[in-house]
Symmetry: C2
Subunit: 528 residues, 2 copies
Amino acid sequence: MNRKGLAILMRTRMIPNNLSISPEEAIRTQPHIGNKQPDGKSNNPSFQKELKVVQESMHSAIALSKTDVVNPILSEFSEDYLSLSAENRRELLVGLSQEYDVNRKQVRELIQQYLVLEAPSGEKSRASFLEEESLSSAFYRTERNLRHALQPKYEVLFDRLNTHPGGLKFLTILRTDILSILAEENVASLRALDSYLKEKFVTWLSPAALELHHITWDDSASLLEKIVAYEAVHPISNLTDLKRRLGLGRRCFGYLHPAIPGEPLIFIEVALLKDVAETIQEVLWDDPPAPESEAACALFYSISSTQPGLAGINLGKFLIKRVIELVKRDMPHISTFATLSPIPGFVQWLRSKLASQKKLAEAETESTLHSPSEDRPVSTFRENILRPEEEKALLDSAVDLTYGNNGVEVMWNLLSSTNCEWTDSERLLSALQAPLMRLCARYLLQEKKRGKALDSVANFHLQNGAMVERLNWMADKSEKGLHQSGGIMVNYVYRLDKIEENAQSYFSGGHIQASYNLQHHLQPQNEE
Amino acid sequence: MNRKGLAILMRTRMIPNNLSISPEEAIRTQPHIGNKQPDGKSNNPSFQKELKVVQESMHSAIALSKTDVVNPILSEFSEDYLSLSAENRRELLVGLSQEYDVNRKQVRELIQQYLVLEAPSGEKSRASFLEEESLSSAFYRTERNLRHALQPKYEVLFDRLNTHPGGLKFLTILRTDILSILAEENVASLRALDSYLKEKFVTWLSPAALELHHITWDDSASLLEKIVAYEAVHPISNLTDLKRRLGLGRRCFGYLHPAIPGEPLIFIEVALLKDVAETIQEVLWDDPPAPESEAACALFYSISSTQPGLAGINLGKFLIKRVIELVKRDMPHISTFATLSPIPGFVQWLRSKLASQKKLAEAETESTLHSPSEDRPVSTFRENILRPEEEKALLDSAVDLTYGNNGVEVMWNLLSSTNCEWTDSERLLSALQAPLMRLCARYLLQEKKRGKALDSVANFHLQNGAMVERLNWMADKSEKGLHQSGGIMVNYVYRLDKIEENAQSYFSGGHIQASYNLQHHLQPQNEE
């Protein structure tokens, strides 16, 4: 599982304060800002009272013995919680994580009981069979009790909310808040609570409980509104754009959970095309779309999650598989399943690479100036990022000397310009193409973190069994596309007969399947 | 929660060998019978090989590292399992419970680590804040690891099957088998596995994951076929009967799980009536039904679960609540929500009561014969089950002397007759009515087991917050109705403003809410 990657891949447009989710809720959940005292604590008595009231209803929701009677209290607690200020939410959540933690006294008692019992051996003499079965029963009982005792008391609250109408949605809001607190400060108890809640979500949102829904123009406006609001990859500009994405030659599928009706947890957009598209422009703006009967390729061009509170829960994996099965069944003439994907981390990685080389080079130049010595070794961290012919082309095209003294500096400066002015110059574009494409291939296929692809989207698709098929130059000329990946996009391809095998070899050995063309980028050329 | 009660309440027509569920499956899952060797072990080599193959695929399904690749193996395992004989299934399941149990070595190691760590105190000096947070993190990590280690290894198999297409259904078949093995012999490890699997089901089948579906004549034949097959309370005799139950003045609602499409896990049948019905005959045979606009009462007359493998999992509770909400919303003129329910344990309870009194009386008579002694005390277990006037009426009407020498004997004999001949005699019927109605009220309101109503259906509705409203004489003249409850049925009523309160007082004090009329049955009359 690749939490961070998916979080990036499925980044949604978060509401600025990070504490709420949907526009309607934004209004009522907007924390009261500007009431903080200088010491960071709110001394406003009406707030303090409010917090106490909510803590009280939270306490009741956990302490009461039966879910039946607990329902009005859960409703009250959820409503009151949403009225709290960010600061009070923090206090309540940290309190929950500490006061309703594991009962450690009970755990220690059960551990003592457990350690003196003998584990069942599995081999029983027939004579004492009954006696041993009863000893075994006692052992299993204690083990189960210990297992239960190790569950924190706040589990009750989570479980009750999960079965309460609207409770699952409320829990995603709660977790959004938790994540934003943890992004600011590391509270160990709250982190433990978050990891527990996340495990709960994984169980509740098992693919078995999710319904794959084909989203069409006939769906309710409130559902479609959410598609517009949460489309994270290629923003939907207007209703016509939305209608096109749901119309002829297009498909949109979402995972719905029965407890959160009318709001897909994640959705994927598909274009039915003759060939695997090279640019996002042709996907978003081909008009009219190709007839569906002539389509040979289903292209996944966008996948967005709608719930920041579900960060780190891999919903996309099963979604892609199920969508492929569905499309395959309905349209057997479609033989290629591919993506046109962003490479969100490429430019950031490249710039930090260039910056460190720049620094090393400067340091060397300086030390050479101060103590010229022929046998000073070149730093082992130095590498030739650019090939000589690439550097030459760059320097030739960068006529304006402010671009830098060497290829690395020129490239760093070009990639750091706020308005990507280099895209306006044919010469710069053509000088950058070769090194950027080559370095992008290297980034995707060779740069790893803990044995997995460094790029989050790459890791997501490779985990799912895709292979890296093709890099596309100037495939996304949007501001975001240029800034994140120098305008490059990548096609991942899902070959149905290789999905399992690819996923397996990626998992076990971090092996990344790539087309011949892509690997070709990486072959060493006439070295300097 | 009342496992046994619900199991009885929702008893489904099990396929005789108890090892399979639906008719289609019955054919392929029918265990090979008649191949047993005298020593109880199958020496047929083809069987042994088969078992080994299935054990091997089970092993792979657990041992492989990724769900992605595990799918074909899960399919293979499920298919192979269903081809196994009952005996081999038993061997496989017991093996699973023992070989893939908790890793106790790891648990003991983690316990040692855990015991030396100090639990976070929650109170931290600001100075060592960071250090303490990192110690706390280590503590929480160990605690989580211990919690995970206490989960048996077979959990992986359950989780993987749950996310595998058809896997949830397969798991219900697996549990049906487990329950039928445990009904025969107590294998501690298998019982522990069953309790673990049951907890899993409770999470997976949380009401949040279930969809309330209004079942109509427009549903697929395959779904309706299941309603016919699983209706457990009042069997559906033919298609016309089914059509009536789904037509005007009637409703049928079921809980569907996305992973088991087209097969409700539990369903409830509702009649929209002018008044609370007194007999099941008028519900099943009123023709034509009253116009829906005139209905003032929604009567729940049948609730059936379809999955023997989900025994003990309370799906009915939330179903009734949600159906009430739905009906209330669509038909605000409906003000009464009641049931017409069987009293499945009444006659059995009464007969054993009568039998023990008969025995005590016989023993006393004998001892009086052998050693006549005026001051011999009457056994403290003796009680006057019948009131004198009831006994007199019974003896007067039982002209045929073979019925017995006293009221208790007469009643016992009448209730034990195979064909319930007493229902053919007006005199017997009228003599039995008063004592049976009175004793039935006593059974429902006063007979308890661990503080809960002894009758499973009563306990089910009382738990849900209903009250006992009315007993109806000769309300179910079917063979089953006469044998189980002497033809008596009971109306439970759900008063919307009292549901929570009733449920709470039943839970906390075992207090049973009953109408004045019903309590009246229990008032002592002129005592002998």
